[in-house]
Amino acid sequence: MKKDLISITDFSKEEYLRIMELAADFEANPNQELLKGKVVASLFFEPSTRTRLSFETAINRLGGRIVGFADPDSSSATKGETLHDTIRMVSNYADLIVMRHPLEGAARYAAEVSSVPIINAGDGANQHPTQTLLDMYSILKTQGTLDNINLFMVGDLKFGRTVHSLLQAMSEFENPIFNFIAPESLQMPRAYKHHLEERGIRYFEHEEFTDIISEADIIYMTRVQKERFSDPMEYEKVKDVYILNKAMLENTKPNVRVLHPLPRVNEIATDVDSSEKAYYFDQALNGMFTREAIISHVMNLK
């Protein structure tokens, strides 16, 4: 049976750890010709330069060849071809499909249609599992473990798919603590808090972004996006409350690291960049190693 990666919950804890192990291996030795003679289709029905370059670099470093398109205007979708037909055709050509699509559930559907593995590089607001795995690899690298992590999530916790998937994945490990810092209108949805309650995992909710972060091992920042607010007044009220600056990191633990899925706007002040606690640019680099690991895992290359 072919292996796909559509949702972060498709993988078991053992598989998460296997990916982490492979990512460390690729970090030590990024160029391994495991995809030699293979063709990977990179289908971006929605542009995403950051994710696409990370995947395509990973494929190149594995010695694979790439076909595909970087934005929907140059794809057959503009001629009205269905996703079904595009995937049927491409899965005849390629050995693996990496796809990003604006509609939710598109990747799951593609996996049903395709005869070759599908890696979901983001389907609308639904899932972006490779981001979650690179976040986990960044936590593991900086903390030495995925157990006993006090994880602070800050900003838009309602619509942010990265925080939802990371919560699900980290809840598989020993004794995590979650702290949610968000305006009332953007709090962590009920379903995810319920997920933690079922597993007896502790979480705390805060509206104010204060020195409580002194407890944190990881501060995961997200962008508060204007378009999420129905009331512009509400946005004006909260937009500058969730900004992390260097002074705020003074009394935090020495091991704390600041993560952010990028791109950032103003939620992390630029003075944080020079702090040894800033990790978001390294996090992006970890993405390439993690994606080499994920490709190897779904294609059984190692």
Partner: protein, 157 residues
């Protein structure tokens, strides 16, 4: 005793059928929806129904008797979503030959529309599929977009 008398009176209100199906314990407010979903407004069979009948459990219930009609399982599933406590009596020669409790299945395939306008199933010809994550109130998790359609958001296809 009193309860039995009440039952007898209720039976008199809606006449008996020789062969067919009696659908009981439909919430009164859902009666016409049940009729539409089952396509009872489009068939030639003899149908009698009663509504706003007293029921301890539902407040006001409705009952439908359809002559010479025996429902398939997937048709019954459709009823379960809006009338989860409905009970079916299969009648043969004026006798109850079989009773069926309508139960919401663990999986619902192709009956309900996903409420999420950005779900792929609302853009391409795909058979919808949901995992039932709660039955009272009903909550359905889409296999594709993973969003949860709540009971008050359920629309039949």
């Amino acid at each position: 005793m009193e309860k039995n008398d009440a039952k007898k009176k209720l039976k008199l209100k809606v006449s008996a059928i020789k062969d067919g199906t009696v659908i009981d314990h439909i919430p009164a407010k859902s009666l016409f929806e049940v009729i539409a979903i089952l396509g009872l407004d489009k068939i030639k069979n003899q149908i009698t129904f009663g509504t706003n009948l007293e029921s301890g459990k539902l407040g006001a219930k409705a009952i439908i008797k359809v002559s010479d009609k025996f429902f398939e399982n997937d048709e019954i599933n459709k009823i379960a979503l809006i009338a989860p406590h409905a009970k079916l009596n299969i009648i043969r020669d004026y006798e109850v030959a079989e009773k069926k409790i309508v139960e919401i299945p663990e999986k619902i395939t192709g009956i309900v529309k996903c409420f999420n306008p950005k779900c792929i199933t609302n853009h391409e010809k795909i058979t919808t599929s949901f995992k039932v994550i709660n039955t009272s109130p009903v909550a359905l998790k889409c296999k594709y977009c993973e969003k949860i359609t709540a009971e008050n958001q359920i629309k039949m296809l």
